[in-house]
Structure formats: C-alpha cells, structure tokens
C-alpha cells in the first residue's frame, strides 16, 4: 500500500508538474503567452457556459414536468460516453506508451502496484472531466427538486463511482490486447492498430446505443412530445442494459431505503470491477508493458531497413519525420485517430436508417437542401474538410517532436527554411488523407454532387495549406523540446491547442465574411471566388511569415 502511494505521487507529479506549468511560464509570464492563455480560457469558459446554460434549462424544465429521471439519465450517459473515449486514450498512453515503464520495472515494486497507480492517474483524470459535466447538473436537479442533504451525498458518491465502469472496461480490453501484441514481431503496428480499434469500438458502442434510442423513438410515432410527457419507463429500460447506470439513477431518484440500497449496489459493482481488473493485471500487465519497450530486430536483413540511396535534403527531412511519426505508437495513434475516426463518426450514424429519420438530422438536411446553390455548399464543405484537417496534431507538434534531437536542425548544413518546408511537406500526407476521407464521406454517405465536392476540395486544399502553415509556425516559435516521453510531446503540448484555436479563428473569420457577403445578396459564385482568393492570400502570407519566423526562432532556440 505504501508503494502504491509513492508511485502514485510520482506519477501525478510527472504528469502535472512537468507539462503545463513549466511549458507556459518558462521565462516569466510573457505577454504573448498570457494573451493566448486568456484566449484559451475564454473559449473554455464559453463552451462550459453553453453546456451549463443547457443543463440549467433542461433540469428546470424537466423538474417542472416531474421528469428529472430523464435529466439524470442524459447527464450520466453523457458522462459515461465522454469518459469512455477520452479515458481509453489516456489509459493506453499512461499504461503502455510512457517511457517510464523501464525505470519502474527496476524498482522493487509489484507490477500490479504500478498498474494500480497508473490506473488511478487515469481515474483522477476521468473524474476531473466528468466533474465538469455532471456535478453542475446534479446540483441543478437537487435545487429544482428541493432535495435534502442525502441527495447531495449520493450525488458525490455517484460521481466518484460511475466512471469506474468506462475505466475498467478500457483497462480490461487493453490488458489482453497489449499482452498479445508482445507475441507479434511488428508490435508497434499491432499496438497502434489495436488501440485505434479499441477507441473505434467504444464509439461504435455509443452509436449503437443512440441508434437504439432512435429506433425506440420511431416505434412511438407520437414523437418527442409524447416521449417527454409520457413515461420515464423508456429510459429505465435502456438504463437497465447498463447496471451501474441503472443503480446510479435509482439511487438518485428513489426514496430512502431503496435508494441507499442501490447506491450500495453501485459501490459494490464498482469495487468488483476494480478487483477483477487488478487481478487480471497481475497476470497480463507486466509483459504487455515491457513488450512495448523491446524493439523488433529483423531476421531478414536484406529486405527491411533500406539500402543506400540518395535523396534531396528536403525529401530526406520529410521522410525522416514520417518514419519517426509512424514508428512511435503514441504519435501514430494520435495522428491517425483523427483521420480514421472521422468516417466512423460520420458514416455509421448516417448509414443507420434510424438516424436519417431523426428530426434533428432531417432538419439539418433540409437546411442544406435549401441551400441549393452549388457554390455555397462548396464553401461549407471546404470549410468542414479544412477543419477536420486542422484538428490533427501532426503538424502543430512537428518541431516539438524533435525533442533532444533538435540540435541536428542547427548543426546540419541545410537552411532552416528548407527544414521547415520539409516538415510542411511531410504533413501534407495527413491533410491529403483527411481530404480524401471527406470526399469519400461526401460522395458515399451524403451524396453531394461532383461539382460541390470538386470545388470544396479545391478550397479545402488552400485552407489546409494556410492552417498547417500557421500551426507549424506556432510550434516553431515556441516548441516544447524538453520532454522525456513522446506522450508529452504530442498530447501534453499546449501548441496543439493553440494550433486548433488558430484554425478555428481563421475558419470562423472566413465563414463570417462569407455569411455577410451572402446576406448582402451577393451571388454564391462571387462569394466563393472571394473566399477562395482570401484563403489563397492567407496561405501565401502565412508561408512567408513561417519562413521568416522559423529562421529567427531556430537561430534563437538553444537546445
């Protein structure tokens, strides 16, 4: 037990202390850093503000209708789904892809203790995320339902226990997965693909649940109103499929003895899940974690590993970056996930019949259909494709990922501008993949016309150049080079956030201009041309800016 707390404290220090605080306030709070931080905070506050406003009105309305059960169902289900996805990624990186596995393996501590400490770190992260979502909602319901102290106590227990379900499920799924990758030769690839599958599986589960909900809706043709004022039985039935959710809901809504019994059941289920996970970890964790450290050596020397061949410096840098990216599981997982998740997120709900009859989706489709103008639709399509590409953290961490090797950038006799353009070039692989994915979705699933797709793709390409260039420049100006573990370079890197923010700002600005122009009754064709030209100007000027900024930054950075 003492070991557990020692390892846990070390893990928490390593996660919190190193990444955020040091990166942001290295040489005193610089004005620019502070400004960006404020912008991020404003964005976060406004998103949360929107969420909480929604929660407030939902819980008040539902309380008036004596339907708080539904409010709680929605809140808890949302919490479960969010922690499923974010928790799985976090857990995988903490357990298997962190470089301290080796150091910890040397210590006289049992692997299951290390596993427990690391899982606790993931758990703390999950209750942190879920607190943001669920605690205000629980409080609103408590206020509007005029609940006593008992309710709030139960709420706290529910908050602390409910996330053990997604957590243990991801742990249970990853333990055998990582154990078996040890049996393969190319275990890096297997680990990446397996990790992606795992996340995909959870998203599929989420989609399945929501489509079940939609099917049930369909069978009740009296539609939403009927549902809302009808019975809570429907939600109870769904909740029963997930016992911990059912126990939690019962604990919060039933009276007295019954509710406490359910709370007890919830606690017992959580503890049982934890116990089972811990037990299995004894058998499977050590080999799984250690196997990620070993490196595969090829038996057939003549084939793998390349041969002597010359390339131009720009290609050499780009290829080197791509090789390292694809061979480092955390990098591959994070950059490929965005591309691969995209169609899964969009195709599955689109394909399932029930979703197409969903009134919300219908509404969106009608709006889109109303915009019959090819050029307007191409604008929207191009913007969305560029946004998806902007969500990828491959380019916004390209310089940071050099880490301790950054000094080569300065030693090698290749101009800094060539080296930064090479990074832009290697990233084009990801932009291209995202754009192609979007084309497939648009053609197969949404049935957009060829003209829209062609024009939109053209716009998306120009926008992608602008966005990638800006994101890369941000990383070049203040890269995070002092990391000991690749997870820190790509996941705990503020530049990812700033990069996404910059992409969002650019797209919102262009979108706003387009909206204004369209409202001035300008023709879609003219607006498209104007936006396209503006994007091209943004791309060219950001390229010029990057060249200057990178040259200055690389000269200044002393690593």
């Amino acid at each position: 037990m003492r070991d557990y707390f020692i390892v846990l404290r070390q893990q928490i220090r390593q996660r919190l202390g190193l990444s955020l605080i040091r990166a942001n306030f290295k040489k005193g709070a610089r004005a620019r850093t502070t400004m960006i931080a404020v912008a991020v905070a404003v964005a976060a506050v406004s998103v949360l503000g929107m969420l909480y406003t929604g929660e407030f009105f939902l819980s008040r309305f539902m309380a008036e209708q004596k339907m708080s059960y539904v409010t709680l169902f929605v809140g808890l289900a949302l919490t479960l789904l969010t922690t499923f996805v974010s928790g799985t990624a976090l857990l995988l990186s903490v357990l298997y892809f962190s470089r301290d596995s080796e150091a910890l393996a040397v210590l006289p501590v049992r692997p299951s203790t290390v596993f427990a400490a690391k899982t606790t770190v993931a758990y703390l992260g999950e209750i942190g995320v879920s607190a943001l979502i669920i605690l205000p909602l629980l409080a609103f319901v408590g206020v509007f339902e005029r609940c006593g102290v008992g309710y709030y106590v139960k709420s706290l227990v529910v908050w602390l226990t409910i996330t053990t379900l997604p957590l243990t499920l991801s742990a249970l799924a990853s333990l055998p997965l990582m154990r078996f990758t040890a049996l393969w030769k190319h275990r890096d690839i297997v680990a990446v693909v397996g990790g992606l599958l795992l996340v995909a599986l959870f998203i599929l589960g989420e989609t399945y649940l929501s489509s079940r909900l939609a099917v049930t809706l369909e069978e009740n043709p009296a539609q939403i109103v009927m549902l809302l004022f009808g019975n809570t039985k429907l939600f109870e039935t769904i909740a029963k499929a997930i016992p911990p959710l059912y126990f939690a809901l019962s604990a919060l809504t039933l009276s007295n003895a019954q509710s406490w019994l359910n709370l007890l059941a919830l606690i017992c289920v959580s503890l049982a899940l934890l116990a089972v996970t811990l037990y299995i970890s004894r058998k499977l964790y050590r080999q799984g974690a250690m196997s990620q450290l070993e490196t595969h050596k090829s038996a057939h020397r003549s084939r793998k590993g390349g041969r002597i061949s010359a390339r131009s410096p720009i290609l050499a840098v780009a290829m080197k970056d791509l090789k390292i990216l694809f061979r480092t599981p955390v990098y591959a997982l994070n950059t490929l996930a965005v591309i691969i998740m995209l169609p899964i997120l969009m195709l599955v709900p689109m394909a399932s019949q029930s979703m197409m009859t969903d009134p919300d989706i219908q509404g969106i489709m009608n709006v889109l259909g109303g915009l019959s103008d090819t050029f307007t639709l191409a604008l929207i399509y191009g913007g969305i494709a560029a946004l998806f590409s902007g969500l990828n953290s491959a380019i916004s961490t390209a310089v940071s990922r050099e880490g301790k090797q950054f000094f080569w950038v300065k030693v090698l006799p290749v101009p800094y501008s060539t080296q930064i353009y090479a990074k832009l070039l290697s990233n084009s692989v990801f932009s291209a993949a995202t754009i192609i994915m979007c084309v497939i979705i648009a053609a197969v699933s949404i049935h957009l016309s060829a003209a829209i797709i062609a024009l939109g793709t053209l716009l998306a390409i120009v926008l992608c150049i602008a966005i990638s260039t800006i994101q890369l420049t941000i990383d070049a100006i203040r890269p995070k080079l002092t990391w000991s573990n690749p997870t820190e370079a790509i996941k705990q890197n503020a530049n990812t956030l700033y990069g996404m923010l910059a992409a969002a700002v650019l797209l919102i600005a262009l979108g706003g201009i387009a909206y204004l122009l369209l409202h001035l009754n300008m023709r879609g064709f003219v607006v498209f041309i104007e936006i396209f030209l503006l994007s091209a100007i943004a791309a060219v000027s950001s390229l010029i800016w990057m060249k200057k900024a990178a040259r200055k930054a690389f000269y200044r950075i002393e690593a």
Partner: protein, 264 residues
C-alpha cells in the same frame, strides 16, 4: 581552419559565465585536444563552434566562414564540419542505415561516395551487421560508433568530437584514434574534447586546457610544461617542483586546475 575570437557564453538560467573570453586558433592539419574537468565549459565551447549555441560575444570562424554570420556563411561553415555530439543522440526510431542515409543526404554525399564510406567505417567499428536494426536497439557504444560514422561520411575538413572515447571498447577506441590520425595526415583538422588525459597526451599535436570557462594553457605538451615551470619560477614556488620538468600531462593538469581553484 578554426578561429575562435574572444567568445563568451552565459546560460540563461545561471549568472556565472560557462565560457569566458575564450580565444583559440586551430590550424589546418592539426590534431587538437581540448581538456578540462567536468563542467569546465568544453561542451559549451563545442556547441558554439557547431552553431548550436550563439555566443553572447565574439566570433567563430570555420575555414574563414562565420558560423553565426549570414545564412550563406552559416551553411558554408556547417558543411565543413563533421560533429559527434557527447550524448549518443541519433534518431532512435530510424534504422542505422536510414540514419546514415539521412546524414549523407543532408551533406549531399553522392551515392557512390556513401557506398564506399558506409561499409568502410561500419565494418571497421563492427556495426555493419546491425545497420538494418533500429537505433533504439543499439547499445551505448554502438550508437556512438554510428554517430561517428555519420559525421565522417562527407569527409569533413573539420572533425569535431565531444568526449568521443566515452562508452567505446578498447578496440573501437583504438580504431577511432587511427581514424583521427588518418584524417590529420590527409590534411584534415580534428578537434576533440576529453578528460582521458593519456589519450590526449599521446595523440594530440596541441592541447588546450580549459577550466571554469577560461583557457588556462595551450600548446604542445613541452610548451605547456615550460610555461608552467617559468610561472613557478616567477612565483618562486618551492625548488622541489622544478624537478618535475618531465611531468606527465596528468601532473600538469592537476596542478593547473587546482591552482586555478585556489585563485578563485
């Protein structure tokens, strides 16, 4: 070949200069040993020579080109250098051969030249068989040998090595010494830092001793020894010390670096 004019460097996080008004002039065809205790400023000096750090003041000229000058000058200077860093830092997700190809690409080494140079050095160091394995799977010494090979592919005019003997087995250390000699014999220049004194003593044409960021002695072993004896005479240090006229580098080194500490 390598001219260092009055360079100084103070790290951002410290108030004491790591290198202080240091000047050196290393001639073409010279094998120069740069020695000093831990933390003396050897790595800092070398990083300024290779362009990794910019000096707070002063200049570094490589073959007449300023390493911290205009972009064209920087590139021309860097092209002349082959650099072996102190930590065996190669890109560890690449295979050995991929790493060597990468370095050769950056220095624009032709395919013919690298087909000749890669087997030559890797076989000499006994890492030819491991070239298709990821660098991650290499031992410390193997990584060192790989970075040495990578630095030699373009046949650099100026070969700069930071503590190159650390981690090498006796056989490979011997091979490296031969390579360094051979480069000098064929007109190249070699500059390396070390704290292994007998290597410096036996191998170098000239030696520079650095302590606390300052060059405290420079020249051939005899020159340094003479200077020391003269200094001792001036200060009328005890007569018995005069008997150390044929002192080893170790004795001189210990004496000089200790004196300097007393002076602090």
């Amino acid at each position: 070949m390598l001219v260092i004019k009055n360079i100084a460097k103070t790290y951002a996080k410290s108030n004491k200069p790591a290198v202080d008004s240091l000047s050196m002039n290393i001639r073409a065809g010279e094998l120069y040993g740069f020695i000093g205790p831990n933390g003396a400023g050897k790595t800092t000096t070398i990083k300024m020579m290779t362009g990794i750090l910019s000096p707070d003041s002063g200049d570094v000229l490589i073959g007449g080109q300023k390493i911290n000058g205009t972009q064209a000058e920087q590139i021309a200077a860097k092209r002349l250098i082959g650099y072996v860093p102190d930590a065996q830092d190669a890109y560890d997700r690449l295979t050995g051969l991929e790493y060597l190809n990468f370095m050769a690409d950056m220095y624009r080494v032709s395919e013919d030249d690298r087909t000749r140079a890669i087997p030559k050095y890797t076989e000499l160091f006994g890492i030819a068989d491991a070239l298709r394995d990821p660098v991650r799977s290499y031992s410390r010494g193997m990584k060192q040998k790989l970075t040495i090979t990578g630095a030699l592919l373009h046949n650099p005019k100026l070969f700069i090595l930071d503590e190159p003997m650390v981690g090498l087995d006796p056989h490979s250390a011997h091979q490296l010494k031969l390579i360094m000699r051979e480069r000098v014999n064929s007109g190249g220049t070699v500059f390396f830092s070390t704290h292994v004194l007998d290597v410096a003593e036996r191998l170098c044409d000239r030696i520079g001793i650095i302590n606390q960021g300052k060059l405290i002695a420079e020249g051939t072993l005899e020159e340094i020894n003479d200077a020391r004896l003269n200094a001792s005479l001036d200060k009328s240090i005890k007569a018995e010390k005069r008997t150390l006229s044929g002192a080893t580098l170790e004795q001189i080194f210990l004496e000089l670096t200790e004196q300097n500490e007393e002076a602090e």
